[in-house]
Amino acid sequence: MSDSTADQVLTTQDGKPLKASLAKALRREKLRALALIAPLLIFVLITFVAPIADMLFRSVENGIVADTLPRTVIALQDWDPTSGEAPDEAVFAALHGDMVVAVEAKKHTRLGSRLNYEQSGISSLFRKTGRRIKKMDDATPFKEQFIKADKKWADAEIWQTLKRFSPRYTDGYFLNSVDAHRTSDGIELKPADERIYMLLFGRTLFLSIMITVSCLLLGYPIAFLLAALPLRSSNLLMILVLLPFWTSLLVRTSAWKVLLQQQGVINDFLVWIGLVADADRLVMINNQTGTIIAMTHILLPFMILPLYSVMKTISPTYVRAAKSLGANDWIAFWRVYFPQSVPGIGAGAVLVFILSIGYYITPELVGGTSGIFISNRIAYHISSSLNWGLAAALGTMLLAAVMVLFVVYDRIVGIDNVKLG
């Protein structure tokens, strides 16, 4: 019986089973394809995926406490943070041992600035203690000496912070980025006067949607005109659309300042024609209006180009057919032309929305206090406060928000329904 099944296996000419031979050929094919895209794949992995993954990892990474104060972290395991009192001599002795090593390697101040993000004052505590550490001796208890160096060491709150952030991974940055923090009673929202990130996330989404909508409202008629005009005049119009691309972003933003400010061109004109009194000139910049106007201008080409390339492919015969069948201009447009241009709207809207959600230089210049984005805070934490963990957590949240919106978009409109031409 087994023999007869073996005979039934199809073989190639050289006697190998056909299935294996086919699989081999297929595998070779796949490998060759992979080899062909390999340079690009490796390039993308190294220059794009790896840095982003590294950045995202920073939002939970917290090895610095355990690396700088290894003995203290172990000694602190037996200390009860709810006791309300500073730990005993054993922990202080461990701290002394760790600090001597850390001061030698000049790592103690780095730890101080890391923990200062969680509690103000720790930065100078570590700096000050570092200067005193060499003068400490073994004769007197270390607890006494540390408290003499800085009385903050007697404060249980310092030790609670130290213990809370001693694990190698932390959710602290993520909690911070949703305006929460971990207290001895568990996770709590921060006091109302410190909550800022959720407000900024909300504002970023709101303003990005406003910018996308105004780009669509302004861009659709232009794209329609571009697609309908004969080539010669549409080329001229196209150059006008692309012209802003050739001007520096900063120049364009500054130009808006000149136009929109209270002593600016537009206000001067309105006062001159008597529409606005000199005393109450319009405030159009350094607020949300300024951000929406300047960013709509900057992102408009990203809406017009996909719209135009989709509209170009819509055959005029459809509209003509609709009209010949009795539709008026509006119905012919709305029922026949518009549905065919939806893929262009989808592509343009996604492009503009995603670009605007991560924008930061224009809001910084024209947004004042009410027109700034979450990216302005991310930039602040990257370049100024050096709190890269928090910046990474905020960045991750933003990335997640974009992905969620992308999925929602896919469910409602369908991602296949996006065309660039």
Partner: protein, 366 residues
Amino acid sequence: MKLKTLVLAGSAMAFVGTAALAADMTIVSWGGAYSASQNNAYHKPYMEKNAGVNIINDESSAEAVAKLRAMNEAGNITWDLVDVVASDAIRLCDEGLAMEIDPATDLAAAPDGTSAADDFGDLLVSECFIPQIVYSTTFGYRSDVAEWGGKEPADICAVFDTETFPGKRSLEKRPINNVEWALLCDGVPKDEVYSVLETEEGLDRALAKLATIKDDVIWWSAGAETPQLLADKEVVIGSTYNGRLFALIEEQKQPVKMLWDAQVFDLDGWIIPAGLPADRLAQVKDYVKFATDTQRLADQAKYISYGPARKSSAPLVGKHADLGIDMAPHMPTDPNNAKNTFLYNYEWWADYRDDIDAKFQAWLAK
């Protein structure tokens, strides 16, 4: 014989060539008029003395802290010397990104033999920091505001007095300086400002004072904004760095005056990045010793109105190189200007900056 000389000369040239290549030195600074003043006062004379050295200017000081950290993590330090403000120097020193210096060996003594440590005095605020200039953040106001009825601001509290001095103000979009001024004008004595700010009520008090003018404030983030806003008549009074106001008043001849009251002194200077290879380090140390000596610091004041950080440089400050006016009366440290000054507390801000900044930004956003 001739051929041998030629070969020798050729190889010597090649050697000089590589040496010159190795002596490229990248110095990072703020750009604009400030870099120009350093170029004239330090770089040019140094390159004249050391023909083999080529100084490359990089204008990245605004992002220096973040970039230095990134370079350090990547293990590839491409900068040799970086110009930063004192608070950034402290931060970089804390993070281990800047090298500690020894004033006795790394800096030149004053011409009269005073040691560098004494000559710089209190201005050596961090082990890694080599101060160059004292600048101040202070106010400038337009002298032609009709609504003011001939009155002119005499003290800092005019900024908070929108009754007598109506019009928009510009303030920096960060808590530093603003909360101090607010407390001073809310009746807190100068030496108690930081102990009051340390408490929650103190910060609330400062923000409440700022809230009285919040609707009249345009917040700036770049030093060039206030001069522009003043020139455009967008604001009637605004804070910025004193050198920017000097340029506005003396170079552009705008009807703007200085309000020196309660000016906040701050420092700007060099740090040497940690982890430089020995040959580059030796080169940089040689440069720093030259560029921060008494004469060089005094020379810089010819090009920009910032005060030299050495005591021994002050008597050497002369006239502006182009305008020909005496520079001493324009220095923030001049006795006439420094009648009432406020000293920025670096240590305190290093501790409380993150916390106060979060509250300040939340307050701003509302």
